[in-house]
């Protein structure tokens, strides 16, 4: 009884910490208010907004969906069955974009935060956490003499890394314009994907290094002396060669601080959009460094003509690069991507020169949905 009383006091104190009544328990949910995922993959969304005139669901790329209210002020809608995967959503309450206060899971895409849910009907979705061994994820600061700054990057080491003395291959994984060093982990679900692919034997255990490709910021917004500033999607120097020329600071630091296999055969580089552009030119200018190259929805064209030598003579550089064996040169592009034609041009150029590559054309456009898929495909072909 004393124990029960004590617990009650405790709980009361916890609740008193919040002045708002958070008692928005969703009657349609088994998860304390977050969307309820039904066995067939359909999802019931619910938000309590008793005074609202109109509430809509904004679910990923689908058109806005009207929600309907009951007499208690709960607005709900149930979707058709969704395929396994990751979905982002917000509610639009009387034209105000509103995060789901009952779902603590959110995801930031540059300057937009949305709620998150994962449909995983069979327990096999590679984006979900499963009961498999997990790697370590670290936020580390390295010195970049080229950029005259301490900069942050994220590093995934595979399960077992801490307990053996083996050397591991490395994948350098680069984000897009507006993203930062956390993008691949947060939106790309890299830790979950790698844990799952390694556990099932589909991927070779590897280190994944995710630096920040915007040279005008040293780390993700909020992680620097600039304070809790709003993220920006426009960066001053994103494609003028500075990142590419500073890349050796990253690979040197990684090879000095992790047990890596320091040969081309066990080094990969990949990126999405601007990060694909970075990967393209970094690998072309260092033909002896990367045995594997992944270009996901890549910006192929030079963005800032004539400013940096590394963008010159791509075709002849690629010929040199492919002379020293490139084990996999993987291009992924969506048929609706606004960069589609640039990627077809790159593919044609490779074909014209008989440079062996893999071209993967998917549906959809310039989206994390595609980039996650590309990573899953690409990672399975590395270091084998």
């Amino acid at each position: 009884m004393g124990n029960l009383l004590h617990r009650t006091t405790w709980l009361a104190a916890l609740i008193a910490l919040s002045l708002v009544t958070w008692a928005q328990q969703d009657p349609h949910s088994t998860q304390g208010g977050a969307p309820h995922i039904h066995p067939d993959g359909s999802v019931t969304f619910a938000i309590k907004a008793p005074h609202a005139q109109q509430v809509q669901l904004s679910l990923d790329t689908q058109p806005l969906t009207a929600m309907h209210s009951d007499s208690a002020g709960w607005w709900t809608v149930t979707t058709a069955a969704l395929a396994d995967g990751l979905y982002r959503y917000v509610y639009i309450v009387d034209s105000v974009p509103t995060l789901d206060i009952n779902n603590v899971y959110t995801m930031r895409d540059v300057y937009i935060t949305k709620n998150l849910l994962i449909v995983d009907r069979e327990g096999k979705c590679p984006l979900a956490v499963h009961d498999v061994p997990h790697g370590t994820v670290s936020a580390v600061w390295y010195d970049s003499p080229t950029l005259h700054s301490q900069r942050r990057m994220m590093v995934y080491t595979p399960p077992g890394y801490e307990d053996d003395h083996a050397r591991y291959p490395v994948l350098y994984l680069l984000h897009g314009s507006g993203g930062d060093e956390t993008a691949w982990l947060e939106q790309g679900r890299v830790a979950q994907v790698m844990d799952n692919l390694i556990a099932s034997g589909q991927a070779t255990p590897m280190i994944v290094v995710m630096p920040n490709g915007n040279v005008d910021e040293v780390a993700t917004p909020g992680s620097t002396g600039a304070g809790l500033v709003a993220p920006s999607s426009s960066h001053k120097y994103e494609m003028d060669g500075k990142f590419e020329l500073s890349f050796a600071d990253i690979s040197t630091w990684v090879e000095n601080h992790y047990r890596t296999r320091k040969v081309k055969r066990y080094r990969a580089i990949a990126g999405l959009s601007m990060g694909g552009y970075h990967a393209l030119y970094i690998s072309a200018n260092q033909p002896d460094q990367f045995g594997y190259v992944g270009l996901f929805s890549t910006a192929v064209k030079r963005m800032d003509k004539g400013r940096c030598r590394i963008y010159n003579d791509l075709e002849s550089k690629l010929k040199v690069q492919f002379q020293d064996r490139v084990r996999l040169y993987w291009i992924g592009i969506g048929e609706d991507d606004f960069l589609y034609s640039e990627n077809v041009t790159l593919r044609d150029m490779l074909e014209r020169n008989h440079l062996r590559h893999t071209y993967h054309e998917s549906s959809g456009g310039h989206s994390w949905s595609n980039w996650r898929d590309y990573l899953i495909l690409f990672a399975q072909r590395l270091f084998k």
Copy 2:
């Protein structure tokens, strides 16, 4: 011109990714919509909600504040000058708790997510990121033979750790009931506090280990095979001795995987609320292990009587513990804390037995504001 056109296409594509018009640019803000912090520490909050009848600001522990709208539907309020520090807030729009969609910075406290801002008028707030060397933060999984599971913990290593061969002292820092291994980093701002205190010479460089003290969960919600479940504040076995008895799995793993100084003189343990309870009984039952003990708003009383031997004979255990030198036994409690009397009782018992300790009584109650303050005070006295 081609470059400009290309950039325009690019931006258009980015914008098209979101079906919602996010053009909520706050006219009162310099930070893209997040609250505007004025030089005197007053803060202007703003949210666009043209159809709302009533909008209020819920700012930390202050009473709800009415906001006022202009003809464009922007609701605003400006606070009095706030002291330097961290503040959490949400808006209440027609009774619906609403996160600030224009502020990407949020903080989860158990099951409640709120927005975050930091007032730092002089650039000296120890909770803010400053341009100082930064430590590494890692999420690692360790094996707990006692609990028969792989479990996650967060580890902070100080700046320089990767580049020297020195051994470092270790602080084990334990969260409260309902929290998890991320609580001290996220709400306690441990990485920022340690970076700043170490940079200014106020704290000795140390490793900080933050395990998960709830034995019925292996990691923070969303990081386990259970999926994106709602966080719970009630855990089955939180105070039955299981965590305390499994603690050696953590310290053994840490001492095997990090360059630690493996003597009592360089080992500290501290915790808040339930974590203080854990720290109290772990240290009392291993009198040769911890040279420094920090009890922040501690639950002193046994929560689950008679179930576990480690809770027996506290007074005689403390006498033994203090015979082998305890360099600092630090108790922090707020005068309004619901655990106040328990802590006074503990202090009186220590005094009665002439066991040397430091008792710090602050204003306020059972809050992160106090726990951050206590950490800052405690960390400066460690390992000196």
